[in-house]
Structure formats: C-alpha cells, structure tokens
Symmetry: C2
Subunit: 164 residues, 2 copies
DNA sequence: TGACATTAGTTTCATTTGCAACTAATTTTA
DNA sequence: TAAAATTAGTTGCAAATGAAACTAATGTCA
C-alpha cells in the first residue's frame, strides 16, 4: 500500500498541468470569474450581458446576429442577454423596417452611463493583470494567442455558431 | 439613419476583441470544445471526467480532494465525475482506513486502457494546435501564460475552491 | 407567382453547473 | 475528554446553458 507509483507503465504519460488546452481553459476561467465578479458587484450584470454592452458601446447599434458573431456568443445567449438588458432599461430595440425579422439593438442613455463606468474598470483590471510583464513578451504572447485562437476556432470544428 | 457612429463620445473605448480576459476566455472555450468533442466521440466522457482520468493516470491513486486541487475542479464537480466514472467501471474507490472521511480513487484496468488510448489523442491534438509556432515564441507564450494564470488565480479572488 | 429554402430570433426542454446545506469523520481547544 | 471547529464528500435546489424545435419574415428558383 505504498503511494503513487505511476500505474500505466506502457502508456505515454501526459501532465495535465502542462497540457495547453487545459491551461488555456483554466486561465480563461479565471478571467471570466474575476471580471464577472466586478460586473456583478458593481452593476448586477453577468458576462453575457457585459459582452453585449461592450459591443454596443463600441459599435453603436447592432442586430442580435451581429452581436453574436462579434462577441462569439450563441444566439440563444444573445437573445437572453438582450432581453435581460432591455428589461433593465439598458438597451432598446428598433425593428429594421427593411428586414422585419431582425431589429437593431442599441444602448439607452442609462446603458451608455453603465458602459462609461464599466470600461475604465475593465481596462484597469486588464492593466493590473498584465502589470510587470515585459512589453515585447506581451507582444509575442498576443500574437501566439491570436494564432491559437484562429486555429482553435477551426479545431473546435463547429465553425458555425459557437457560443462561448 | 446612417450606421454606427460610436455613441459614447466621452467614454474611454474598449475593443472587446483585443481585451485580454475576453480573448483568453474565447481561446479556452475553443480548447474545451475541441477536446470535449474528441473525448465525447471516442469515449463518451466529458471534460470533467477526462480531467479526473488524466490526474489518476498521472498520479496513480488520489483522493477526490487531491483531484480537485490538481485539476482545478470544484468538489461537487469532482464528486459527480468520479461517481460517473465509477458507474462506468473506469475507476474504483478504496476507503482510507486512516481517515474514513476520504477514499482513494484509482483507475481500474478498463480505466487504464481508456487512459492509454486518450493520451496519444490528446497529445496529437495539442501538437496539431501548436504546429508551426516558433519554439522560442511558444516558450515565451507559456511563460507569460503561467504568470497570467497565477495572477488570475489571485484576481479571481475566491482563492479557495475554484472550479473551472 | 408560388413552392421551397434560408435566416433572425425566441422558446421549450434536458443537462450542467455551482452554491448552500447537509452527513459523517477527524482535529482542535479548553 | 467533551464541546466546538474543521474537513471530505454528497445532495437538494435554483440558475445558466445549449440543442432542437419553432415562428415569422425574407430570399431563391422553377
């Protein structure tokens, strides 16, 4: 009854803590968790709602479809996030009279105020997170991250609506 | 009715697609999604189950608590994953006679066979993912990733049981 | 034009998830 | 040693999630 002799002698071994998909998932989870805390505490909204607000703050008015594409959110998630934000008076909807299936979503003045409050918090959070990392290393990191993201999108296979 | 003039003139703007927490979350999601597909198709198990198997394959026998700590999983997730794996005959449990609150979980022979099959698939997947990235850039990437992960763990705040 | 296919968005349903409360065992402390 | 606190692990419950089905509108093609 001794402890922990690796049990699969013939199998190639794998150290989970060095396994890239695992690591990316963990760091991504921490990111969501930390930001979600900020959004939740300060504004009572969650990550999906924040993503919608962020896109609207950046682009003005968008259809739900656009939001989903830009923010990598499943359409049902967008639908529910928009509905919630509308219920809180943070976004408005205006039917597109040229295609009545869709409608344009935009921040209300209240929504814009929230956006204006969140953005500095989010940026400060990001700054604190990357503080002290050498700028050139960060550059490399971001470039590789882009490559991995693009390739991940393909490897994740379901090219189409991917929800995050 | 022109389109998309940025609506918050005074607010600092933020581009979500360049926002690091967002990007990390997206790439992490792709990683999970892609791997989950592999595990699901080939072995009918999910990510949590895979993580348990991976740790047991690496370390031999572990308590659920250890698994949670090593694999960054909430204890309820571990509990359910272990229960599921046990139901499928892939892991066994043995009570620790020196502390009867906990028990040691270990792969059964069937579990070891699955592990031996999954590991090469997982490693091949990882290899395909990072293919073509310059080794020195990958080194930098992994180092920064470690820093971000450690700091993210703190920023995520809930130091204690973090579930992923 | 009219049938068929596609698209935007919502809703239903089953699954997954995490929190909180719980049980049972062990450790601490007074 | 007895009460209080802590710990391992499970379960109840409510919220979040995604797949699939659905509605309504538009596009395609004969």
């Amino acid at each position: 009854m001794s402890t922990n002799p690796a049990p699969s002698p013939e199998a190639e071994t794998l150290k989970l803590e060095r396994f890239l998909p695992y690591r990316l998932n963990v760091v991504g989870f921490f990111a969501s968790r930390a930001l979600g805390r900020i959004y939740g505490e300060h504004f009572g909204i969650g990550i999906p709602e924040w993503r919608v607000v962020a896109q609207l703050g950046e682009f003005g008015k968008l259809t739900s479809r656009d939001i989903g594409e830009l923010a990598q959110m499943h359409k049902t998630k967008v639908s529910r996030a928009v509905a919630e934000l509308q219920k809180r008076g943070l976004v408005s909807r205006a039917e597109n009279r040229e295609d009545r299936r869709e409608s344009f979503v935009a921040l209300t003045p209240a929504g814009q105020r929230i956006y204006a409050h969140i953005v500095p918090l989010a940026l400060a959070f990001e700054a604190r997170w990357i503080e002290g990392i050498a700028p050139d290393e960060l550059k490399v990191f971001e470039r590789v991250l882009s490559t991995l993201t693009d390739r991940g999108r393909l490897l994740a296979g379901g090219y189409r609506d991917v929800e995050t």
